[in-house]
Assembly symmetry: C2
Homo-oligomer: 230 residues x 2
DNA sequence: TCAAAAGTGTTTAAAATACACCCATGT
DNA sequence: ACATGGGTGTATTTTAAACACTTTTGA
């Protein structure tokens, strides 16, 4: 380490933008904390924490999400690193932001309560501390791009889902309605989904067939690069 | 700072992936350094440097590029932050990677020589230290996406250029030929280019008209989000 | 006069969009 | 029997792709 040791070190944190949805709702939500400590006590913020010297960035992000939601296998994607000298009013902190999208009713709601966190609809965001609003905006833009570039699946969707569910998810992400015939056609045309024999019966009397992603075909398509414009 | 002071600090560096092109060439090149110090002496690496406590990340990236190329107004875009515990064999370093694309013959080639750097065609990359190959691959993927999302202009192109030049650039980025009639039509259909009265006469006897980007229309389109599929 | 790169339109194929009715079931 | 969400096909418009000859001019 001798060669590097003369250089100054900095605080490095991870902040997590956790989007949540329920298949039968129409809003995308964001997991926010009401700060119970100074500075900015009482204001809303993202969940974050400092990176330990022996901890990978991705692992730090996973640790923070697990602490807050009880979920251990959440797919997190790195968003951007925010490092302006004055972004935090107390001192300089480099913040590596991560985002993810989870099914709200999968997580442990007790943990969320214990941390003073809440699911806030994106349409009703309160004021956030520091540059957290900028982080959320950037995450939402990236989520939208990502949802067009590769169907949000495997990593971000439950393993079994119906087509109306995935359509509601996309409508929540883009905040626009899609034509259900066209949506279904495009989705199925990718040859990525496998119809199951059972149905989801909670949201309708008729019931909607479950589907699963075909992992092999997904990998093939990711290789080639594909687009999924709606 | 009291509240944060108990947390450990880390070394934070910036590494720069600098792509270069000349309008009349067909290859994209990468600016690489032959290391003249330990560790990994004699191997090739990207240009990097540590972030100072009072320096923004973007500014650190600009500083590093300016040192190496003499160029002061290079547009740099943040790529990704590489932070695995063992990515550097000597000690833990968080590296925020930036990339840019510059016109090779605009820069100060003396500075490049002085630093022991060279322009290496992407098709002939040598082995790089640490995770620098991964950085380059990721940068190239992002450059390709970016070139489809918004025409590489303003930030990454010279202010005055011909259509055959920009086509050669795109062909270098994607490593495929495009039909010149279709390319020209799509480019002009965006209503983003303004034809000048003068011609570039170095690459052909007939000469090709220069164009400029229209800043206003560009901003409008960036707002709405546009795609520029070739 | 010829070599070398610039410039120019049309036809064809593919993809996106708009649109309205029947189905299955629990209450 | 009716209310609720699930499921289906076609015609039209828009966009992308393929393709070959003429122009200019310096050497």
């Amino acid at each position: 380490m001798s060669y590097y040791s003369s250089h100054p070190k900095l605080l490095v944190a991870v902040d997590c933008i956790i989007f949540g949805f329920n298949e039968n709702e129409h809003d995308l939500k964001l997991l926010l904390l009401k700060r119970n400590f100074q500075p900015e006590l009482g204001k809303w913020s993202l969940m974050g924490g400092f990176v330990a010297p022996d901890e990978n960035l991705d692992d730090a992000a996973k640790r923070i999400v697990a602490q807050l939601t009880g979920l251990n296998n959440v797919y997190m994607e790195q968003l951007y690193t925010f490092g302006d000298v004055n972004r935090d009013i107390v001192g300089r902190i480099i913040s590596v932001a991560y985002f993810s999208l989870i099914k709200i009713n999968d997580h442990d709601s007790e943990l969320v309560k214990k941390h003073g966190a809440s699911w806030i609809p994106l349409t009703q965001l309160p004021e956030l501390i520091f540059d957290h609003k900028e982080m959320v905006d950037k995450a939402l833009r990236k989520l939208r791009i990502r949802a067009r570039t590769q169907p949000i699946g495997f990593e971000l969707l439950p393993e079994k889902f119906t087509i109306p569910q995935i359509q509601r998810l996309y409508e929540a992400i883009y905040q626009v309605p899609f034509d259900k015939r066209n949506f279904r056609r495009k989705l199925l045309l990718m040859n990525l989904l496998e119809k199951q024999d059972d149905k989801e019966k909670e949201t309708s009397r008729k019931g909607a067939y479950y589907y699963r992603f075909n992992q092999l075909k997904y990998n093939e398509l990711v290789e080639k690069g594909f687009n999924f414009d709606l």
